[in-house]
Symmetry: C2
Subunit: 362 residues, 2 copies
């Protein structure tokens, strides 16, 4: 008998340990002995301590990095919620595979391996050898008419993400970035955010890749109708059922990202979340397993209003604030050098005693 | 007859061209053709356009990077304005040369060469082969009693920095970070900031490397007395005489940084300024030669209140905001991967037409 989504999530959640506060103290004590004024490395010290504690004190040396880009189409795109036609999902997947997209450039620069995952692109991509094939369906269902995913579909998508985390763990990946591509997916992320936060659609919805005023108003109306359709209006109705929220108004790539985030946390692999859609997956993951948050870094703060709301809700302070709104994992990979810097400073700086530097006197 | 500081600065200023607005337009047009929603790379697009324009369209390919750390002692340290004893300047220079300081770790990670410059350390460092020897004097004079530098001293310090920019240009450096080390130098930077901005001492002065309440109050009183001593109170008296302000209340490393920034701009080398002290040098450089600002990127925003004031005055938006307050060029070198990312995206991303990706429809 196949596992249900609840069973899969419960099994992952049970494996996610809370961060050890003693490890944080141990890390802070080490940082205070390095040749710099106390606390003068600011957030880098917090990041270094978190990296030390979430790995339960295991040294982080090679810093093998990878970014997973989950691609899927969205049935809701038929309602005209995006500035781009649906075929751009497939076109961009091909661009990723050819190495010409922003994420490819940034990953090359920062030494991260790019893995492109087809969880639900509405095209036959079986001929691409470098693509990770986990297609559940050719796009999610139109959530204005029915749930975006059936029970088995959301389960398979979650499991696909979890399996990829297992593979990354086996390959020794020490830092993960998780991003996406999917025309229509800011609509799904907005619906998830409205559901989780119990906030009005207008507050959580942005212009995505660049909608006109009329299209933006239409997008908001569609999202409101979607939430109404699935009886997900108001905090109590949706926030307490994150898995059902994900199934009804999420997307295949969002479900797969959620699965990967949960499994990465179970493996104690730190992960960098990206923009609005990636953070919506993270918010679902944290609603399912609050301990997962300790393994997450927010790569950046995007221009999407819903992204800011989710980051505040998760109490994740973004590392970068560069007005990006591209997705693909770009903001997460851009933040990787900062996390790597924190770890390298922790590992490589001289101590006051070893370097013969005097400490503060007043 | 030796050149005066005014003559030196005038010669450099004459060589600093304003950025060409047509080049900015040309860059933006290129960026709009890349496979991403219009403007979705946010500040990276602005940085890429500025890099293109400030080099007057010359391609930036290898991105050879260097950080110069200017070290000097401060006579004012005798007044008890720092949490650390003066010998820490020498000790940290030796730590830089041994590769154990934060700047060494970050420069190794980000591929920048570290150059340590002795402009005025109060110690005999002549035995260090890897140190760049430009010592003007063993520390600046105590600015509470006399000007921090004599006319010839400030001129030699400015010229030393300018010479280093010439060397960097000849070596093909394409991105410069400029940082410092000098016990007592937040006092000099605060005095410069108060003088340039015409603001009260209490507003521009912070706790430096971590002063107690009593020592912090004392530091403010010392800075107020210094400004009074040199008749630099109020905007009109000091802001219009930046070179005199630098000479009276600056420091040898601050003067050398100012010289390097002016000469780097003359060579069209983009430079990343660091924390409060580096930014004080940048503010002096921009007061002397407003066009120099076009060649500057603010690496980060530190915790020092004066730093925030100077960045706003210069209208430079910091790339990172990580609560650093270490100096050494650390915030500047940490920001280098973001600038490099912007340039690489500009150079390497596929265009819509080449990648066969559809453009926005609505």
């Amino acid at each position: 008998m196949r596992e249900s989504a609840e069973e899969l999530v419960a099994a992952l959640t049970a494996r996610i340990a809370a961060i050890d506060k003693d490890r944080l103290m141990e890390a802070r004590s080490h940082l205070d002995g390095l040749t710099k004024p106390l606390g003068s490395l600011g957030r880098l010290e917090q990041i270094a301590a978190q990296m030390f504690a979430l790995r339960d004190g295991a040294a982080c040396t090679g810093m093998k990095k990878a970014v997973y880009v989950f691609a899927a189409d969205h049935g809701i795109a038929a309602e005209g919620v995006s500035a781009y036609p649906s075929e751009v999902t497939r076109q961009m997947v091909e661009n990723f595979l050819a190495g010409g997209a922003a994420i490819n450039v940034l990953a090359r620069l920062n030494g991260a391996t790019v893995h492109v995952v087809d969880v639900g692109v509405n095209a036959d991509l079986s001929g691409h050898a470098n693509l990770l094939h986990h297609k559940v369906r050719r796009g999610s269902r139109n959530m204005l008419r029915e749930a975006a995913m059936s029970e088995p579909e959301v389960t398979v998508a979650l499991a696909a993400g979890a399996t990829l985390a297992d593979t990354a763990a086996a390959a020794g990946v020490e830092l993960l970035a998780i991003g996406e591509m999917g025309i229509g997916n800011t609509t799904a992320a907005s619906a998830i955010t409205a559901g989780l936060a119990g906030l009005p659609v207008a507050v959580v919805t942005g212009r995505g890749t660049g909608l006109s005023d009329a299209a933006y108003t239409h997008k908001q109306a569609v999202i409101a109708a979607v939430l109404e359709r699935h009886l997900l209006v108001g905090e109590a109705s949706a926030a307490s059922r994150p898995l059902e929220l994900l199934r009804c108004v999420g997307g295949l790539e969002i479900a797969a990202m959620t699965g990967m985030m949960l499994a990465a946390a179970a493996h104690r692999i730190p992960l960098v979340i990206d923009g609005f859609i990636s953070t919506a997956a993270a918010a679902v993951a944290c609603a399912l397993a609050p301990n997962a948050r300790d393994y997450m870094f927010a790569g950046h703060r995007s221009q999407e209003p819903g992204h800011r709301i989710l980051l505040e809700r998760l109490a994740l302070r973004p590392i970068l604030d560069l007005d990006l709104r591209l997705g693909e994992g770009t903001g997460a990979v851009l933040a990787m050098p900062v996390i790597e810097a924190a770890v390298r400073l922790y590992n490589e700086m001289a101590t006051f005693s070893a370097a013969g530097v005097s400490e503060a006197t007043r």
